[in-house]
Amino acid sequence: MTSPRRAIISTVFLLTAAGFAALLAQSAPLPNRPDSLKFAAIGDNGTGDRPQYEIAEQMTKAHATFPFDLVIMLGDNMYGRQTPADFVKKFEQPYAALLKANVMFQASLGNHDRPENVSYRPYNMNGQRYYTYARKNVRFLALDSTLMDTKQLEWVDATLGGAREDWKICYFHHPLYSDASRHGSSVDLRLLLEPIFVRNGVHVVFSGHDHVYERVKPQKGIYYFVSGAAGQLRRGNMRPSAETAASFDQDLSFMLVEVAGLEMHFQAISRSGRVVDAGVIRRPSGANPPTAR
């Protein structure tokens, strides 16, 4: 076989295999085990516009078959005016069905949120800019990346150092890694936070700010997700790089996550309900960083 012909056949084979793998990944179902931790992640959601409501409807639909009881909010939970009426229009109404089903929202704030929103009861922040909580075998840290001062960094280090859960998950607004062209990576914050995350064995980080979905290839053993399109979209804003594992910038999206023992399954779901990315992260027992499929 001549070499150009061999190259064409190889390319066709590889593309077919990659497409098939992508299809498989996208249809990978969540295990939906009864004893697992199930949660959703939304970022940059609080517009009060129709697209936010449509994503909320998809979340409600997903909740019927995948009964998550936690939603982590990745900041910019509210845009524009933030009067009591806006809290109804931009939060309580769109997520009414989930709130009624006792789904707990745990917010972090972004640059468009009013600082005093830490005291808005349904955000469950208890008046704190940054805080921690544990669910099953997962330790969550919700951080304030808008004001990442020394005191907060010391708290993050101490809290992660003392965490004994199987999984350590941090979430905050500004992404340490992002290949979206509007904002991109917050390198200034990365240099402050990444050493702490690496030192303390953080497994997964969720952020928003860029209005796209992106899964970044593990960086120093840590998995980074950008999920900032639950209310606004910057269509075509992704500029995938060698660090991009998967991305979606053609429609709004949110994430569903299930932590079952030492496995973390995830799906990114579009406004139409299509699974646009899916996979599983395996955390080896012991202190080793997780591996992904």
């Binding site: 640059n111 468009h112 949120d113 009013r114 004001l147 020394t150 200034d188 402050l192």
Partner: protein, 376 residues
């Protein structure tokens, strides 16, 4: 009072107005080309530059103010400063109020915590622009306003720091020791500035650091104790090389190292990634360019109602132009921003907003022309 000759004036411009913009320009290019190396470098030296080296820059600024309290000085007698101080209170209050409202309108309410940055006025640039476009007798008024605004800004960042932890009792107790030490040195007629700077200044630095106030201001409470010439040589007039008083010797020794500090200050703090910017960036320039002239008019109105008098040939048109000039935050604005905000988007937007306040200089020029208050 303002005796610098014209060649001295341009020498002043070369010495005081180029190093910080040069550092800032390098920072802006560097951070947008190679952010990782920029932040790695600047985080390493940030403490040394911002908290230690800048002590000498603010020491030199304070030296100018201390000398201005001597006969022939701007602040002699101190009552002369009363009206500019009241005008400065008006200017800073109105700017801060506008800022808080504007960042809300621009949908970035998280930026509200940066309101003390609106107080900053670049003294050297204000002096330069004032000398360029205003009648000579108006320049002291500009300087007094700038000094008063900055003093209010330093108080504001100490009291309203969103992330700082003020420990006033511990800080005040240690500061009392520092001031006692400076007083003892003065009483002992110590003529060298070194014991004042190293001993009293060192304790003062620790007092501010422990008290939760930015330690770059460590020499501000110490400089008044240094022996100085009986008469003010003039604002921004270089000390004579054969001057023997402690304050002049301090200037002679630290003038150039402070410029190096200022260069690195620009390099460390002005690096703003353009990707970090959002509409809230405009909040600061809008607030100070609109707020300072209006606030000065209101403050001056209050002062007049209280029985004070404006300097001769100063009316509302002059006050408006002075307001635009004092809207230039630049070096002091950048310092207030750095002291107030940790690294991240808010600092990036506020720093860039501060650089944009340079637009107040051409606006002041146009204002002077339109209102006919210029040198002509």
């Amino acid at each position: 009072m303002l005796r610098a000759t014209f060649p001295q004036f341009w020498a002043f411009a070369l010495e005081h107005l180029l190093v910080l913009p040069l550092g800032a320009a390098i920072a802006l290019i560097w951070v947008n080309v190679s952010p990782e190396s920029y932040y790695s470098f600047t985080y390493t030296i940030a403490f040394t530059v911002n908290d230690v080296a800048m002590v000498f820059f603010f020491g030199l600024m304070t030296k100018e103010v201390v000398e201005a309290t001597a006969p022939d000085g701007l602040l002699y007698p101190w009552r002369r400063a009363l009206l500019p101080v009241i005008a400065a209170v008006g200017a800073t209050t109105v700017s801060a109020l506008i800022y808080v409202r504007v960042v809300d309108v621009l949908d970035e309410p998280a930026l509200r915590v940066a309101w003390p940055v609106t107080f900053g006025t670049d003294i050297a640039l204000s002096y330069f622009v004032g000398r360029l476009i205003l009648r000579r007798e108006l320049v002291p008024f500009v300087l007094l306003l700038a000094i008063a605004s900055n003093a209010l800004g330093f108080i504001a960042i100490a009291l309203f720091n969103p992330t700082g932890e003020l420990r006033p009792v511990a800080g005040a107790a240690i500061m009392a020791v520092a001031i006692g030490l400076a007083l003892a040195l003065r009483r002992a007629r110590v003529k060298s500035f070194w014991p004042y700077v190293l001993a009293a200044g060192g304790v003062s630095w620790f007092a501010l650091f422990r008290g939760g106030v930015h330690p770059a201001l460590a020499l501000v409470p110490i400089m008044p104790f240094l022996p100085h010439a009986p008469r003010d040589p003039g604002f921004f007039v270089d000390a004579s090389p054969d001057a023997h008083d402690a304050l002049s010797r301090f200037e002679i020794v630290w003038r150039h190292p402070a410029q190096v500090a200022l260069f690195f200050f620009g390099l460390v703090n002005a690096g703003v990634s353009f990707h970090a910017l959002e509409p809230g960036t405009w909040g600061l320039p809008i607030a100070v360019i609109a707020g300072k002239p209006v606030g000065i008019l209101i403050g001056a109105g209050v002062a007049l109602a209280a029985g004070l008098h404006l300097p001769q040939r100063v009316g509302w048109r002059e006050l408006v132009t002075v307001g635009f000039i004092t809207a230039i935050g630049f070096s002091v604005g950048l310092f207030l921003c750095t002291a107030l905000l940790p690294p991240g988007q808010l600092r990036a937007e506020t720093s860039m907003g501060d650089l944009l306040t340079l637009a107040a200089a051409p606006i002041a020029l146009v204002s002077a022309r339109l209102l006919r208050v210029g040198r002509g």
